[in-house]
Symmetry: C2
Subunit: 387 residues, 2 copies
């Protein structure tokens, strides 16, 4: 029994023709393009004889096997960032679908149902999978926020579906260089990183760039630069897998002849140990508050998500059976497997990303690596079904 | 013979009622508000019996004295930045007008004409005074650029007026803290700083903030931070009056979970010595190009403008005669006196700015300092007339 690589690549190419204009693939969450991709998915599943279903939030499902038992869920998401790549999300859905088609074609008798899922809006905060897992934040102006994306609180209630499943397995590209640099075929995720984000405002005193001497001025951009250099130093001192990034930064008033009076930026740190993450942030905040006038607020503070031992064992066995080089690793990126892992056994299979490039039109994983990943997923699913 | 402080303050208050909505004063270059301020100026001058004239570019003039001789020009500009203060530009025009009204009231016999000028569009690059001095850049799509501000190349030709004048004197607020910190009444400008600007692009490699390790990543924002820390260090090593500022900075793609792939920023340095300024920039560029992937272009490279010895002497004598504490100083900001100084004897009188705040609704100079400045200007004009 073997997956059909050509069919997989064809399906991947088909779904990636659904994109907004511009470089790469653009199927933003809740856009027409995401809707169309889910329509394509439902039609493709029907054509292969799967039982399809869409919940009222817009997550799509396709099932084979006996309906009475609690089942196995496999898949990923179909939305992308703007000008993203062809693999992030879509490859996980296609691999899951190919796995199920292969089981069907080979007449494998199923002890329980296997369902392929395509979640909504992963790229803007794992929205679809969080709704499915009943982990969406319903506080504050919840109805208003849902109205903003064309949904109602009733739609969200209708889409809570995790209780019908015992296990979730997702294949994804690594989006990093660990597998490539270490010549590995497969990464078996043991944890999805905890992520902590700070919103930092550094103050200075705005003034004319020509008339205030270097000793008299308080330049917010220079203050921010020193904070960032120190931030990087602190994160690096903790070693792998800890990472820290200042992805956004804005200068006020942002005029070439005005000394910046204020700079706002975000820093986020990720890692697998909450205590160390808090220590990193505490060191940074202590440095910032000692030497600068700042206002720092924590905006995201998530605990790491641990993959289940049973899933890790099944994927490990699948790698051994298919003779693949693998390693356990942390996922620095967040995935639908995060909320799912809080409701059932969850696992993730990583395949190599060329140069670690992701969220980018140049995102690439080779056919060979895709075939390897699909083979491991098929093996792992067989093992999970025989449990 | 003494200037009338109340009349001056009333005139200043009247012209500052001409402003767009919002905090502070907003009379942008070429706006209706600037037009209205020039209309107010012409009417006020007429009411005091001055001979008024507006050139086709929109610069406004008001003259007293014999028409045949080459004259003395005094004034400043009436436009402001958005949400600017009440003093920058307007105070120079009002002081010049008050000086002329005082001469008229006291029946001072004039050997040559004295003209008050209100230039256009100082805040967006000394446009009006550059046109007047025939120093505007007429290369490339000049007609198109003029059409964009509702002018024609013929209007610009008509407005070349410097040949009728021998001297230009301008009073302005310091916009810095040098006078205040050193308890001085008057700054006599000896040079307007040379200003050099670089557009810097620093590259990195965009990537997922969670998946690329600290050792594997090339973060453009961290690169930019290190460049800016070094930039500040280099500028400071040259001491006063050299200043350097990174006023604008933009991060790409500017997403909290993406390692920045590119950062663009401007740096400008000002000082009174071209060789040292070039040395500062060369050190910075050398550092940048040695350790980082950058693209650096020079966008502005202006020579310093030297005020004339005769003017400096006249203002010095005026300070001595009125018993004021003064010092020679460089102007870090640019002024209409810059283009004028390339065509005639030019001089500038600075009065203190509270806390150096400028281009800001909180810009402030005390009545006492304004009175002092006007008294020094009146004295200096008398001396220039008797030459």
């Amino acid at each position: 029994m073997k997956i059909n690589l050509n069919r997989m690549m064809d399906m991947l190419s088909e779904v990636n023709q659904i994109t907004d204009e511009g470089e790469g693939v653009t199927r933003p969450a809740f856009s027409d393009f995401e809707d169309q991709a889910h329509g394509w998915f439902i039609n493709k599943c029907k054509a292969h004889g799967l039982e399809t279903y869409q919940d009222r939030f817009g997550n799509s499902f396709a099932t084979i096997g006996p309906g009475e038992e609690k089942g196995l869920l496999i898949g990923s998401h179909l939305d992308t960032v703007n000008n993203g790549g062809e693999y992030d999300g879509a490859l996980g859905v296609i691999t899951a679908l190919e796995t199920v088609i292969t089981l069907l074609e080979n007449g494998v008798e199923l002890s329980k149902p296997v369902t392929v899922v395509a979640f909504r809006a992963e790229e803007i905060g794992l929205i679809g999978s969080s709704v499915f897992s009943d982990l969406i934040d319903k506080s504050g102006n919840f109805a208003e926020r849902m109205a903003g994306i064309g949904r109602t609180p009733e739609d969200v209630e209708n889409a809570i579906g995790y209780k019908d499943f015992t296990d979730y397995l997702e294949l994804h590209i690594e989006q990093g260089v660990y597998l490539e640099n270490n010549a590995l075929d497969i990464g078996i995720v043991n944890a999805i990183a905890s992520m902590h984000q700070l919103n930092v405002t550094v103050f200075g005193e705005a003034g004319h760039a020509g008339t205030i001497g270097m000793r008299e001025r308080d330049d917010a951009m220079m203050n921010a630069s020193k904070l960032l250099v120190e931030f990087e130093k602190i994160v690096k001192s903790y070693g792998p897998p800890f990472v820290g990034t200042a992805g956004t930064l804005e200068v006020f008033p942002n005029s070439s002849n005005v000394i910046p009076g204020k700079v706002e930026f975000t820093v986020e740190v990720r890692g697998d140990d909450m205590d160390k993450l808090h220590a990193i942030l505490d060191s940074f905040i202590e440095y910032a508050e000692r030497d600068f006038k700042t206002n720092i607020t924590k905006s995201i503070d998530k605990a790491p998500a641990h993959m289940s031992d049973g899933m890790i064992d099944a994927i490990t066995a699948a790698c051994e059976a298919t003779d693949m080089k693998y390693e356990l690793m942390m996922s620095g990126a967040n995935h639908d497997a995060n909320p799912l892992s809080r409701r059932m056994n969850a696992g993730m299979i990583f395949i190599p990303s060329k140069d670690g490039i992701s969220h980018n039109p140049r995102e690439f994983s080779s056919k060979e690596d895709i075939e390897t990943g699909a083979a491991v997923m098929l093996e792992a699913v067989k093992r999970l079904l025989s449990k």
